[in-house]
């Protein structure tokens, strides 16, 4: 039925959904319970594609996203290309940080996985702190992309000046550097191809009345340190072995991370950003470690994004119930906390009047449960967490790849009956 809507009614629907979403975020009571569709590979599988195809076939993925959004009619969606469609670009780069379907023996129909490793060594803290951009360019990029290894030869520009800048051009004509530069251009062209398909697909859905829930991705400084720089083991040991250097590095990240996020969101003309968190959960670090290492630099990131007029959708992975009293210290009506296993009822108590809550139909229920169980769970969430507004219904960490379509449909359809 959505297919037949005229463009003007698309605009009306867009306004209506956008208002519903912003009302929930800014803690006003919306007309009914809003929903967001976020998934990695579920939309592709829903349309009969493998994970591999989703990563490589931009057009089919766009068609799948369109079908999923039209079938489920969420109040906003997270564009799926940005989450998965980078297979061809990774091939060009000889990318090292992911294992992905159909690559190096991984099956065609499983999601990609991040390879946890110390991409920055403990003894490189000082290099990073002195010159983060130089470190990323000379050392990090060559490690995460085999084809970019020659970037390690690029001039050390802070010490190369005046006519030495002119002389330094020699570097770019070295055969191996030239090859790396050509790879950058080819990878860039491939990414533009993907972006063009994504933009068209997103605009099409916006015209049909569906707002976008995320125009970019940001991070917590500790997660960057632990996931992308030091590796999980390295970061945990650094809490003892390199405490001051870690804090120093995160001070820099707290400035640099939002800078990148704001640029991405503004370039896309949006106002929402997605921030998946990996290390904030209960049980990983102690309350004291959390308030020393995790929360203060992350709070700086949040405040900077909010100051720039961006609503952060913060995905608190795992169970963060014990963190609630700490993380409620943000300006009211500006943040969305997207919870996976956190006790939603305690979250409502702690965050009422401060933060909009998003979540959290469990992955297990969507995969192995029944539509009735899903509806019962959504009803409970609406009654308690939805009380007085400030709640957006979603799956725990988005719709899991293996979710049964009838369960997902039940969730989105039920939300439409949840009228305030």
């Amino acid at each position: 039925m959505s297919m037949g809507r005229a463009v003007s009614s698309g605009a009306d629907l867009y306004e209506e959904r956008q208002k519903r979403l912003i009302d929930a975020i800014e803690l006003r009571v919306p007309d009914r319970l809003p929903t967001i569709l976020f998934s990695h590979f579920w939309v592709a599988r829903y349309c009969g594609m493998t994970c591999r195809q989703a990563m490589y076939d931009y057009e089919s993925l766009a068609a799948a996203m369109r079908k999923a959004v039209l079938d489920l009619e969420p109040d906003a969606f997270q564009p799926v290309h940005a989450s998965v469609a980078f297979g061809p670009t990774m091939d060009i780069l000889d990318y090292k940080q992911l294992e992905w379907p159909g690559h190096k023996g991984l099956a065609e129909d499983v999601g990609f996985q991040y390879l946890d490793a110390p991409y920055m060594r403990a003894e490189e803290y000082d290099d990073y702190i002195l010159d983060p951009t130089g470190f990323m360019l000379h050392t990090y990029m060559p490690r995460v992309a085999g084809a970019l290894e020659p970037l390690s030869q690029l001039p050390q520009y802070p010490g190369v000046l005046h006519t030495r800048i002119i002389q330094s051009m020699e570097t770019y004509a070295r055969p191996e550097v030239r090859r790396a530069l050509e790879v950058l251009i080819r990878a860039g062209e491939e990414m533009q191809k993907m972006r063009a398909v994504q933009s068209r697909a997103v605009q099409d859905l916006k015209d049909l009345g569906f707002p976008v829930a995320s125009y970019g991705t940001s991070h917590a400084p500790f997660d960057v340190a632990a996931d992308y720089l030091r590796g999980s083991k390295g970061a945990m040991l650094d809490l003892f072995r390199n405490k001051d250097k870690l804090l120093n590095l995160m001070d820099r990240l707290a400035i640099l991370i939002p800078r990148a996020g704001i640029e991405a969101v503004k370039a896309a003309g949006g106002n929402m950003i997605f921030i998946p968190l990996h290390w904030g959960l209960d049980g990983f670090m102690s309350p004291k470690q959390f308030t020393t290492f995790f929360w203060p630099p992350f709070r700086t990131v949040l405040l900077t994004l909010i100051e720039a007029g961006i609503y952060p959708h913060v995905l608190w992975e795992g169970d963060c119930t014990s963190r609630l009293d700490v993380i409620k210290d943000v300006p009211p009506g500006k943040c969305i906390y997207f919870f996976e296993r956190t006790d939603m009822f305690k979250a409502k108590q702690a965050l009422r009047g401060t933060v909009c809550i998003r979540g959290n139909v469990p992955a297990s229920m969507l995969i192995a449960g029944s539509p009735d169980e899903v509806r019962d769970h959504c009803k409970k969430l609406f009654e308690v967490v939805g009380d007085g507004g400030g709640f957006i219904l979603d799956a725990g960490v988005g719709v899991p790849d293996e979710a049964r379509p009838e369960n997902v449909l039940a969730m989105y359809q039920f939300a439409k009956q949840c009228v305030y």
Partner: protein, 213 residues
Amino acid sequence: MDEKGKQLVQHIAEMQEEDAVKLAREMLDAGYDPVRLLGHCREAMEFVGKRYEEGEYFLPELMLAGEMLKAIGDMAKPLIKQDTSGGTTAGTVVIGTVEGDLHDIGKNIVTFMLEINGFKVVDLGIDVPISNFVDSIKQHKPQVVGLSGFLTLAFDAMKKTVEAIQKAGLRDNIKIMIGGGQVDETVKNYTGADAFGLNAMDAVSLCKRWVPA
């Protein structure tokens, strides 16, 4: 316990890595019995484990304790002449991250805590093919099998692994526990496991319940 031994236990239990490793080196250099020294390490690990169970220590402390144990073990073990591996164990656990999943932090922490608690743990690693679990059960005859998985794709891999164990006629003699970020009662029932755990303490208490001392 002698003064040096007490001090070593304290350094390890208090997360004083440099002091602990330095003192262990000094003790061994002065001719301290390496078997006895490793006994102190075990005692320190019991403190660490207890503090973890009580919510005072978390993953970073377990990780650092593991590092200290390894560093001291690497110094002491070459000095040990007789075989000390023949001690009694609380029981045997075969553990691994199921096929398709490459995550290992949770599994490693569970392994560490089970070992502290006296279990012999056979760790099959990550992305473990179903047949490896079956073969390992035949070989090691564990009382417990632990299936780990962080991703939702692990649900099906766990289910298939449990089915294969059943098919091989090995299911009746073992208990199967599953663990990982997204497991719960629904996943336990879906996979046919006996129990699920959300953290390493859950794994230890399940094993202790299933394998009485």
